[in-house]
């Protein structure tokens, strides 16, 4: 059904059988805690290259769950596999930007050099090739993950060199970065991946005073911190735009035994990569913001949910946390304030876009499949393990630290009405200078395009697939929460790009990423994808345009979470802004016969069973 399905089980591809004692040790390392299931299964995947039925039995025994519960988790996440994978797994970023940047040629080179097709594992168990959705490197596409490292800006020559080096037995990290072993984690990250900071703004990417915000915050009563954050006008930067101060106020309201502060670093919206840059260059600011949040709401425990695609940043972030603990900025009595305790851990995801939804993120941290939770209750009232949990985006926490340093008014005065401060934009696609731009809210799309060298764009996808595809006539619209809202993605398409090819790709993305919990998102998106395929094949009728609108409306109105409430947007916003793309392709049917109905294919099985041939359809028919 899609490009990402696991191959059918077959040979063991030379994978070593998981020894019982090794699996038991992995479970024990996480205290046999079922809430740490994602960590346990990730470690098993890394150690044994798959999660076998026998392994699931052992994990179930050790953690007190049933095997089917373990399998439910193992089968949910794309990076966990129930068939053996190669010792080296190469995951090509299959985003539309990578496709337009020549992904197919790169894939062909690897397939040719390694002798396997994408989706396959070599017979000796050395290599697996896979596709994976956006890995957050659209500004340096085509890109790929090789085990836990990434390679970017791939050219044909580079692809050939990488394949040859891998076949010669070189380690992925040494291929990704020369002299890997001698570099600091930060150097490794920045040599592997360019930051591409094109414009540093006043709040986040310009100079910052370390810990100034935290120092100011500890001088205030917790309620006063929340007041300041609320007065700044700060709204969530992940996409939904909820007022941060209000979220904190809810979380701080009820007296409870435990509270949590979670950082959402599951930057999965295709075309978004600004958090990657903050995680690389401003990790201290982010953790400072989390620590301020902990002080404000009274949380002692926290967590950074880092998407599996960004695992190459784990070491770097671990070092940041260790450094802060050593400096008394995390742990007990932070900055010498008695009773101000806060510490956190990193939870690595395993390939699931839905985990960027806060309820699904919490489910994932609890060791469950990444399914959104029923709302109400909201996470701020009952979140992780049933306790109040603040979940904010990386950029939001960074802003918090700066607001506490420079003051609410300073932040409030930037931007425009209802959208205060600055915003990081991840710009990619058909423009001269892809990368990250920090700009005040309120800029028009046209002004942004001029800065990035994308004036000639034919279409711009603002906010990623779940956002809006904007046509030239609407480039005057403003980048604010109330006009063109975006979690940061600005994807520029030249007039030569095929709009429907983009739409079809985005729908396949949502089909792949729907969790399956609710009917409209699970099933409806498949129907939308099939309908767009009809248009692409020239088999659509005029009434199919109404069908797209009608089905989209049902999915949006009845879906359980934000994924289904926005997944029809690629279709709806292109129908609105590019109606000719659709109307040019539809043909009224003659004789009310649908072009998609292939009568011959429909009766083919029966015809074969009956051993009958057709003198109309079988050209070689002879009586």
């Amino acid at each position: 059904m899609d490009r990402y399905s696991n191959p059918t089980p077959g040979a063991d591809f030379g994978a070593a059988p998981a020894s019982r004692s090794a699996v038991v040790a992995i479970c024990a390392a996480y205290g046999n805690d079922p809430h740490r299931m994602l960590d346990i299964l990730r470690d098993i995947q890394d150690s044994f290259r798959w999660i076998s039925p026998e392994t699931m039995e052992i994990v179930a025994d050790e953690t007190g769950l049933s095997r089917i519960q373990v399998e439910g988790v193992a089968s949910f996440y794309s990076f966990l596999s129930q068939v053996p994978k190669g010792r080296i797994t190469i995951r090509f970023c299959d985003d539309i930007i990578d496709r337009f940047a020549g992904l197919a040629d790169i894939v062909a080179i690897f397939e040719d050099a390694l002798g396997i097709k994408t989706g396959e594992t070599s017979a000796d168990g050395a290599f697996s090739l896979e596709y994976t959705p956006c890995i957050g490197l659209c500004d340096q596409a085509p890109a790929a993950m090789i085990n836990d490292v990434v390679v970017t800006s791939l050219t044909a020559d580079r692809a050939r060199d990488i394949a040859a080096a891998l076949k010669a037995g070189q380690m992925p990290q040494d291929i990704a970065v020369a002299g890997f072993d001698d570099l600091s984690p930060h150097e490794r990250a920045t040599r592997m991946v360019a930051n591409n900071i094109r414009q540093a703004g006043e709040v986040l990417l310009g100079p910052v005073s370390p810990e100034a915000g935290l120092e100011n915050a500890i001088a205030l009563a917790p309620a006063a911190i929340i007041d300041a954050v609320e007065a700044s006008g700060l709204r969530g930067c992940g996409g939904a735009g909820f007022t941060t101060g209000r979220k904190w106020r809810f979380a701080a309201a009820d007296p409870v035994a435990r509270r949590f502060v979670f950082c959402n670093a599951d930057e999965g919206e295709p075309g978004t990569f600004k958090d990657r840059v903050l995680l690389t260059e401003r990790p201290h600011l982010m953790v400072e913001g989390m620590t301020i949040a902990a002080r404000a709401v009274g949380a002692r425990e926290g967590l950074i949910y880092l998407r599996g695609e960004y695992v190459y940043l784990r070491e770097h972030l671990e070092q940041v946390l260790a450094d802060r603990r050593a400096r008394g900025l995390l742990g007990k009595d932070i900055l010498g304030v008695e009773g101000f305790d806060f510490d956190l851990r990193i939870q690595i995801g395993a390939g699931a876009y839905i985990c960027g939804e806060e309820g699904a993120l919490i489910s994932s941290c609890e060791g469950l499949p990444g399914e959104p939770k029923t709302r109400p209750p909201f996470p701020v009232n009952r979140g992780y393990l049933g306790f109040p949990t603040v979940v904010n985006n990386v950029e939001t926490f960074c802003h918090v630290a700066r607001i506490m340093d420079r003051g609410a008014d300073w932040f409030f005065d930037m931007g425009s009405d209802g959208s205060h401060g600055t915003k990081l934009f991840s710009v990619s696609g058909d423009c001269r200078s892809p990368g990250v731009y920090e700009l005040p809210y309120g800029l028009s799309l046209q002004e942004l395009l001029e800065r990035v060298g994308g004036e000639d764009a034919g279409a711009v996808q603002v906010g990623g697939p779940s956002g809006t595809m904007v046509d030239r006539a609407n480039f005057h619209r403003r980048l604010t929460f109330d006009d063109l809202a975006t979690g940061g993605a600005i994807i520029v398409f030249s007039a030569q790009r095929n709009i429907l090819e983009i739409v079809e790709y985005y729908m396949s993305f949502f089909v792949h990423e729907s969790c399956g919990y609710c009917t409209p998102c699970r099933v409806g998106n498949v129907f939308l994808q099939k309908a767009i395929a009809k248009f692409r094949k020239g088999l659509a009728n005029p009434e199919d345009i109404d069908y797209l609108r009608d089905l989209s409306a049902t999915i949006i109105e009845t879906s359980r979470c934000g994924l289904g409430m926005t997944s029809p947007n690629p279709i709806l916003t292109t129908l609105e802004n590019f109606p000719m793309v659709y109307s040019a392709l539809v043909k009224p049917s003659r004789d009310r016969i649908r072009a998609t109905f292939d009568v011959q294919a429909a009766i083919d099985d029966a015809r074969k069973l009956a051993k009958r041939r057709s003198y109309i359809f079988d050209k070689d028919f002879t009586k």
């Binding site: 059904m1 089917i68 029923t374 609710c518 009917t519 129907f527």
Partner: protein, 239 residues
């Protein structure tokens, strides 16, 4: 709970409610039926099928999970809401293989009964996904045909919370998500014909099959041959 009882309205009818009750719980008690497939008496609320979508205070929500609130104005049986529900039921028909004439659940099937209630009588517009999953007939008393599953999770909740066995669970994600069993097949689980999860009440369709009883009740005398689905709840109001 010290908050006082309150009332709200569904399609203009006043419904009494207690704090903490969902819209559906209060409606059921008052004899107002809100169509549903994944929700089932005695099981945790799920909010998965979305057939119980109502408009509450102008927002579309699942009535089975949404708490009732004082003075809330709920729309239930409007043309618009019924159209959404018909779309959802059609989606479920097209997602699986639901061939009523050859299915032993016909007449007792909630999916079929819901289609009748929602007036799904014309030709449908969606493509058929035609799953082709192996039937698990390994167990001496029970068979499982997941091609007919509508992902309501009632068997999962019943087995976990009522039988305390955990025979069923989901595997996979998105359109590939499906009900599976806690073993290599049903014969290698704790499943028993006397389980609540296996009872005729729990599976709304013909996915969980009790062997040997399939066609014992003739057509015309099956559950929904006697009245529309939901008429038992609506009957309470007339009494």
């Amino acid at each position: 709970m010290s908050d006082p009882d309150f009332t709200f309205t569904i399609d203009g009818t006043t419904i009494p409610a207690k704090p903490g009750q969902t819209i559906m719980e209060a409606a059921d008690a008052a004899g107002v039926y809100i169509p549903r497939l994944c929700d089932h008496e005695g099981l945790r609320h799920q909010g998965g099928c979305r057939v119980c979508t109502v408009k509450a205070g102008g927002r579309s929500v699942a009535a089975c999970t949404q708490p009732a609130a004082p003075k809330l104005v709920v729309e239930n049986e409007t043309d618009h809401i019924n159209k959404l529900r018909r779309d959802l039921v059609e989606m479920l028909f097209h997602e699986g293989n639901h061939l009523c004439p050859i299915c032993e659940a016909s007449g007792n099937c909630e999916l079929q009964a819901m289609a009748y209630r929602l007036d799904m009588t014309g030709p449908t517009k969606f493509p058929y996904l035609e799953p082709c999953r192996a039937v698990d007939a390994s167990h001496p008393d029970i068979a499982l045909d997941t091609n007919r599953c509508i992902s309501c999770s009632r068997c999962i909740r019943a087995s976990q919370d009522v039988d305390h066995k955990g025979v069923f669970g989901y595997v996979g994600r998105g359109i590939h998500r499906r009900v599976a069993v806690n073993g290599s097949d049903l014969a290698h689980t704790d499943a028993d014909i006397t389980d609540h999860a296996i009872s005729a009440d729990v599976c709304p369709v013909g996915c969980i099959i009790r062997k040997g009883v399939g066609f014992a009740t003739p057509i015309g005398e099956r559950e929904f041959d006697h009245g529309l689905i939901g008429s038992d709840i609506e009957g309470k109001r007339r009494e």
